[in-house]
Symmetry: C2
Subunit: 353 residues, 2 copies
C-alpha cells in the first residue's frame, strides 16, 4: 500500500476558521481515506469540532497555536507577527520539514504567498512563484496561470509558467502531452507583447515531447477550453479570472430574476428545477476551489477565504491529487528539460533582434 498523503491544515485560516476547515477535511477524508491531517490551530476549538467525527479524529494530529494571521493583515505585517508561531506559518513549516506533503489554507492570500516564498523558497531555476487555478470550460477543465502571484512576465517566466502549468495538467488530467496556449490579444494593429511573442517562439522551437504548444489564444478561448493550459502574467490573469466570476454571477442573477417575474416562468422553473440545479452545479465556484502555488519547494493550496465545508474539501482534494500524482517532482523534471533547452539554444535569444 502506498504511503499516506499528509496534509497540513491552517485550521485558523479563512473567514470562518476551524469550523469550515474541520468539516471540509472530514468531507475530503471520506473521499480519500488514505489521508492524514496535521491541523495547526487552537486545540480546544479543534478538539470540540473533532469530538463528533471519530474517523477524522483518528486521521488527525493537532498542533496547538493561538496565533492566527488576520484576513486583512498586510503580508509584511503577517511575516513580522506570524512567523514561527501562527497557524499559517506552522502549516508551511510542516511541509518545509517533511512532516507534511502539502499545505491547505483558506487564509489571507498575500500573507500565505509571502510566508511560503520566505520559508519554502522557489524551486531551482524559478525566480517567481505563480498561482494556478482549474477553470471549468465547455470541454472540461483547464489550468490557467498566473492569476495574480506577480505582475508582468518576461519570456523566460512565461515559458516557466507553461512548463509548470503543463506539469499540473499532465498530473491532474492524466494527459501525455497537454496543449498549451499563450494568452494574447487579437487586435491586429497591436500584435501583442514582445515577451509573449518571444515566449511563443521559444516554446515552438523547443518542440517538447511533454507539451504541445499550439500558439496564442484569446480571452474567449478560456471558457471554450481551446487548450489544456492557458498561460499569462498575473495582472491580466487575475483580471480574467475575476471578470469571468463577475460575468457568471451577473448571468445567474439575470436568470433568477427572470424566473421569478411571471407565473409561467415560475411554473417553468418548477418543471426544469433539476436542469437548473445541474447548471448551477456546473457553475458552482466551490467545485473549482483552490489556487495552487507553483514554483516553490513545497505545494501550497489556497482555498477561498469565504468558502463553506464543500468548497474547503475541494481545496483539500486538490492538494491530495497534487501529492498523490507527484506534481512537484514532475515539475522539477520538466523544468530541467526546459532550461536545458533554453541554454542549448542560444539562437533563440538572438531571434528577437
Amino acid at each position: 500500500m502506498p504511503q499516506k498523503v499528509r496534509i497540513a491544515l491552517d485550521a485558523m485560516g479563512g473567514d470562518h476558521g476551524p469550523s469550515v476547515v474541520v468539516a471540509g477535511a472530514g468531507i475530503s477524508l471520506d473521499r480519500h481515506p488514505d489521508t492524514e491531517f496535521v491541523m495547526m490551530g487552537d486545540r480546544p476549538a479543534l478538539e470540540a469540532l473533532l469530538a463528533g467525527r471519530p474517523a477524522l479524529r483518528a486521521a488527525s494530529r493537532i498542533v496547538h497555536t493561538d496565533v492566527a494571521v488576520k484576513m486583512d493583515e498586510k503580508p509584511s505585517q503577517a511575516l513580522r507577527h506570524g512567523r514561527w508561531k501562527s497557524s499559517m506559518w506552522m502549516a508551511i513549516d510542516a511541509v518545509k520539514h517533511g512532516d507534511a506533503d502539502v499545505v491547505v489554507s483558506a487564509g489571507n492570500t498575500g500573507a500565505l504567498m509571502a510566508m511560503a516564498k520566505f520559508h519554502l523558497k522557489t524551486m531551482a531555476g524559478i525566480e517567481r512563484p505563480a498561482i494556478a487555478v482549474l477553470w471549468p470550460t465547455l470541454r472540461g477543465e483547464s489550468v490557467v496561470l498566473d492569476v495574480g502571484a506577480s505582475i508582468g512576465a518576461d519570456a523566460r517566466h512565461l515559458v516557466d509558467l507553461a512548463v509548470m502549468g503543463g506539469a499540473m495538467a499532465r498530473v491532474l488530467f492524466d494527459l501525455e502531452r497537454p496543449t498549451i496556449g499563450l494568452l494574447n490579444i487579437g487586435v491586429e494593429e497591436v500584435k501583442g507583447l514582445e515577451e509573449v511573442r518571444e515566449a511563443g517562439r521559444i516554446l515552438r522551437d523547443a518542440a517538447r515531447r511533454d507539451l504541445d504548444y499550439v500558439g496564442f489564444v484569446e480571452g474567449d478561448d478560456i471558457g471554450k477550453g481551446t487548450v489544456d493550459v492557458v498561460v499569462t502574467e498575473g495582472f491580466a490573469g487575475n483580471i480574467a479570472l475575476k471578470t469571468a466570476e463577475g460575468t457568471a454571477k451577473q448571468l445567474g442573477e439575470y436568470l433568477r430574476n427572470a424566473m421569478r417575474r411571471t407565473l409561467f416562468a415560475r411554473i417553468g422553473y418548477l418543471f426544469a428545477r433539476n436542469a437548473f440545479a445541474a447548471v448551477k452545479d456546473k457553475m458552482d465556484p466551490r467545485k473549482a476551489n483552490g489556487g495552487v502555488f507553483l514554483g516553490l519547494n513545497g505545494v501550497v493550496i489556497k482555498s477561498h477565504g469565504g468558502t463553506d465545508p464543500e468548497g474547503f474539501a475541494a481545496a483539500v482534494d486538490l492538494g491530495y491529487d497534487m501529492v498523490r500524482y507527484e506534481l512537484r517532482a514532475r515539475i522539477s523534471q520538466m523544468l530541467g528539460t526546459a532550461h536545458a533547452d533554453m541554454t542549448a539554444k542560444p539562437a533563440v535569444e538572438s531571434m528577437s533582434s
Copy 2:
C-alpha cells in the same frame, strides 16, 4: 430644428458587406429619422439594396468605390493599398473634411484604427487613441476602456482614458459626475502596478467636478456595475472583454444543454420561454455592439465584423448618440481641464518618489 446627424458608412466592411450595412442603416434610420448617410462602396450593389427602401434611399448618398479593405489584411497593407480609395478610407475622409460627423465600419479593426490614426490624428494632448465599449452590467451599462487599441499605459495615459471614458459616460448616460474606477488586482502582496497607483493619486488629487474617482476596482466589479467607467490599459482590457464574452457563451451553452436533456426540463422550458427570451435579450451581444475609438479628431465606431443588421444598427445608433450629444467637444473640454490640473500640480509628480 437641429442639424441632421451625418453618418459615413464603410458599406463594404464586415463579413457580410453591403447587405448588412444597408439593412442596419435602415433600422437605425427608423429610430432616428434625423440621420443622413453617406455610403462608401460599390454603387450597383448599394443601389440594388436601397431600391426597396425609399426612406433610406432618400436619406442616403452613395460615393462609389470598388476597393475594399479585406478582413484579414494587415494594417500596414491596408494603409498601403487602401489609402485614398477604399470604402474605409473614404468614410474616414468624409469625417476628416467635415462632410460627415461620424464613421461607422464593420471592417478590419486594425486597418480601421491605423487609417483613423493616420488620417484624423490624435486630439491635442492625447498620445494614443483608445477603444471603449458599453458593457452591460447588473446596474445598467458601464463604459470600459481601453479594450485593445494599445498595450501598456503610463499614469498620464490612464488619466486620459479616465477623462475620455468619463466624457463618454456623461454624454451617453446623462450623468453630471460619472463614477470612475481603475481596474487593478486585489491580491495583497502585489499591490498593483505603479502606473495604476500613480494614476489613482492624480485622479484623487484633482478632485474634479465632472468625474467622481472612487478608487480601484477588480474584474468582478465590471459585471456588478460598481462604477460608470472602468479604466485599464488595452491588454488587460481586451482580455477582460473577451473572457466575459467567452463566459457568457459558456453559460448559455450549459443552459441550452440542460434544458434539452429531460422531458421535464423541456416542458419547463416551454413555460418559461419568455423568461429565457428576456435573459437572452439582456445578454444579446448585438445590443451592445460597437467599439468607440476615442482620442482622435473625429468619432469612429467599430461594429463587430460578423454582426447582423440589428447589431450593425446598434453601432449606428451609438454613432448617432455620440454626435447628437457632442462627445468630442465634451472630451476636448474635459481634457483641457485635466491637463491644466496636471501642469498646475507639480507636486503630483514628486509624490511617487
